[in-house]
Amino acid sequence: MTTVAVPPGRSDVARLADPPPPPRRLVRRLLRPVVLLLVNLVLLSALVFFGAEVLPGNIGRLLLGRTADQQSVDVLNRELGADRPLVERYLSFMGDLLQGDLGTSLALRQPNSELLGAALLNSLKLAALAFAIVVPLALVGGVVAALRRDTWVDRTIIGVGVALTVLPEFVTGLIAILVLSLGLKLFPVTATPPPGSGALTQIYYLVMPAIPLVVVLFGYLAKLARAGTVTALDSDYHRTAVLKGLPGRVVVSRHVLRNALLPTISVLGTQAGYLIGGLVVVEILFNYRGVGSLIFTAAQAKDIPLLEVGVLTVGVAYMLLTALSDVVAGLLDPRVRVR
C-alpha cells in the first residue's frame, strides 16, 4: 500500500479536501508498489533457488541417493550444470526464466511450461468454484450473524465456522468423501471428469474437492463480514437512516451492506493466496491434476527443476493477487487511496 506523509495536525477532512498531488509525487506513488513487487520477486526467486539447490548441498547426490558412486554423481552434476559457481547458476536460472524458458522436468521429460500451463488451468477452475461458493455463503452468514447479534444464530454460525476453519483440509475432505460420496453417493470420489465432458459435468465433479476449501475459508470470511456489519450497524448513519423512518430492508441493503462488506472484499486477494496452500492437499486427496499435485509429484520424484518453477509460480501468483487486492481496495474505498 502506498504511504504519503501527512503533515501533523491536519484532520481527515482537511486531507480529503486537498487538491490532487502534483504529478511527480503521483508517479512515485504509482511506482513504489511496482518496485517493491519487483524486489519481492527477486527475493522470492533467490529463496526458492536457495531452498531447492543450495540447501541439499549436492544435487547429484540428492537425486541418485547415498549408494551411488561418486563418478556418476559428478557426471550428473555436470549435466545439470550444478558444478558451476553458485552465483553463475542463479544468474543463468534467472536469465532462462526471464526469456520464458522454464526448463525441462527431470522425471517427466517434458517442458515445465507445458506441464504448468495445463495444471494452472485445472487449479484455477477448482479455486474459482470454491470462491464462487464460499464468498456469497460467508457474506450472507456474516451479515445474518451480525443482524442477530449475540443470539444463538450468531454463536452457531461463527462458532461452527471458526471450529471448521482450523481443521486441516485433508480431514474435512475425507469426512466429505465418507458422507457425501461413499455414504449418500451424491458425488463422485474422483475430481477428474471423463474427457470431453461439458462445463456442467466438470463443475459436478469439482464440487467435492471444493468443499474442504470452502470449509477452510468460510469461518474467517464470515467473521470479517460480521465485524464489518456490526461496525456499520453501530454507526451514526445507520441511526439516522432508522430515525428518518426508512424501512428496515432498505436500511440494511442500502446503508449497512455497502459499508459492511468493503473490508471483506478487500481481503479476498490474500485469501486466494491462502487457498493455494490448500490446493496441494485437496488435489492429491481427490486425484486432480493441478499445480498443487504437480508440485507434490515433483517433490516426491525429487524433480528439482519442476519443483522450483512450480513453487515460484505459486509465489508469484500470491504476490500478484495481494497487489491486485490492494488496488481493488483502493478503487472501492477512496479513504484507503489517500492514506
Partner: protein, 273 residues
C-alpha cells in the same frame, strides 16, 4: 441492604475447559502410550482391515495393526513435534523481531522484506521444498516449520518493539549507557512478552495443522510411527474396503486441533482481562 446492581459475572470459560479436557486426554495418551494399549506395531496378516471386534476395538489397518492402539500412541509424535517447532519459531522470531524493531534501518529493511517473502508462500509449499532438500524426518519438520513460523512471529514482535522503543524507560536505559543487547533483552523483552505468548499459543494450533498435513503428504513423520496423519496417508486409498483406519485418526486430529485452538483462545482472552 440489597445490592444496587446485579454483580456482573465474567462469562464462564466453557471453551477453555472443554479444550483443556480433550487436550489433557491426548497428553495422557502421549505419555502413557504403549502402557495403556496393546502393541501398536504388532501386525496380523490374517486380520487386515478388519471391522471392530472384542479383540480390536476399532478394527485393524492394512497391515492388521490395531487401530485403537495406534490412535492412542499416535498422540505422542505430534505432541512432541508441534510444540518443539512452535518453540523454535518463537525463539528465532522473537530475536529477529527485537533486533529489527529496535534498529530501524538497513537490517530492518532487509529482514522485513525477507519475512514478507516467506509469508507470501503457502506454508505447505515452502515446507515441501525444504523437506525434499533436507530429507523428511521429525527433526527436519521441527526445523522447517520453526523457520517458517519465525516470520509471522518476527512481524508481530517487531510491531510491538517499535512502540516500546519510543517510551521513556528505554530512553532512560539508553542514557544510562546500557549496552544495546541489555536494552533489548532486559528492558524491552519483558514488556513485549504478552504479544509473544499470544502469538505462540495461536501458532501451536497451526503447527498441529501443518505437521499433520505434512505427515499426510508423506513428508512429515516417517513409518512405522503410529502418527495420525501418516496413518491416513497409509490407509486412505483403501477407504472403500474399511473406513476405520482413516476415520479414527481423522477424528483424533480434528479433536486435537480444535482443543488446542480452544485452549489458546481461552488463554488469550484471560490474558486480555
Amino acid at each position: 441492604m440489597t445490592p444496587l446492581a446485579p454483580a456482573v459475572r465474567p462469562p464462564r470459560p466453557v471453551g477453555l475447559v472443554v479444550g483443556g479436557v480433550i487436550l489433557g486426554i491426548w497428553v495422557v495418551c502421549a505419555i502413557g502410550g504403549e502402557l495403556l494399549v496393546p502393541d501398536p506395531y504388532a501386525t496380523d496378516s490374517f486380520a487386515t482391515l478388519a471391522p471392530p471386534s472384542a479383540e480390536h476395538w476399532l478394527g485393524t489397518d492394512r497391515l492388521g495393526r490395531d487401530v485403537f492402539a495406534r490412535a492412542v500412541t499416535g498422540a505422542r509424535s505430534i505432541l512432541l513435534v508441534a510444540p518443539a517447532a512452535t518453540l523454535i519459531g518463537t525463539l528465532i522470531g522473537t530475536a529477529l523481531g527485537l533486533v529489527t524493531g529496535y534498529f530501524a534501518g538497513a537490517v530492518d529493511d532487509v529482514v522485513s522484506r525477507l519475512v514478507s517473502v516467506v509469508l507470501s508462500l503457502p506454508v505447505v509449499i515452502v515446507a515441501l521444498l525444504a523437506l525434499v532438500a533436507l530429507g523428511p524426518s521429525s527433526l527436519t519438520v521441527i526445523g522447517v516449520i520453526g523457520f517458517i513460523f519465525s516470520a509471522p512471529i518476527a512481524r508481530t514482535v517487531r510491531a510491538a518493539v517499535r512502540v516500546e522503543r519510543e517510551k521513556d524507560y528505554v530512553e532512560a536505559a539508553r542514557l544510562r549507557r546500557e549496552p544495546a543487547l541489555a536494552i533489548l533483552f532486559v528492558e524491552i523483552l519483558p514488556n513485549v512478552l504478552g504479544p509473544v505468548l499470544t502469538e505462540a499459543t495461536v501458532r501451536l494450533g497451526y503447527a498441529v495443522f501443518f505437521i499433520a498435513t505434512l505427515s499426510f503428504l508423506g513428508f512429515g513423520i516417517q513409518p512405522p510411527s503410529p502418527d495420525w496423519g501418516l496413518a491416513i496417508y497409509e490407509n486412505y486409498t483403501l477407504l472403500r474396503a474399511s473406513a476405520w483406519p482413516v476415520i479414527v485418526p481423522a477424528v483424533a486430529i480434528a479433536s486435537l486441533v480444535v482443543s488446542v485452538h480452544l485452549v489458546a483462545e481461552g488463554l488469550v482472552r484471560r490474558g486480555e482481562r
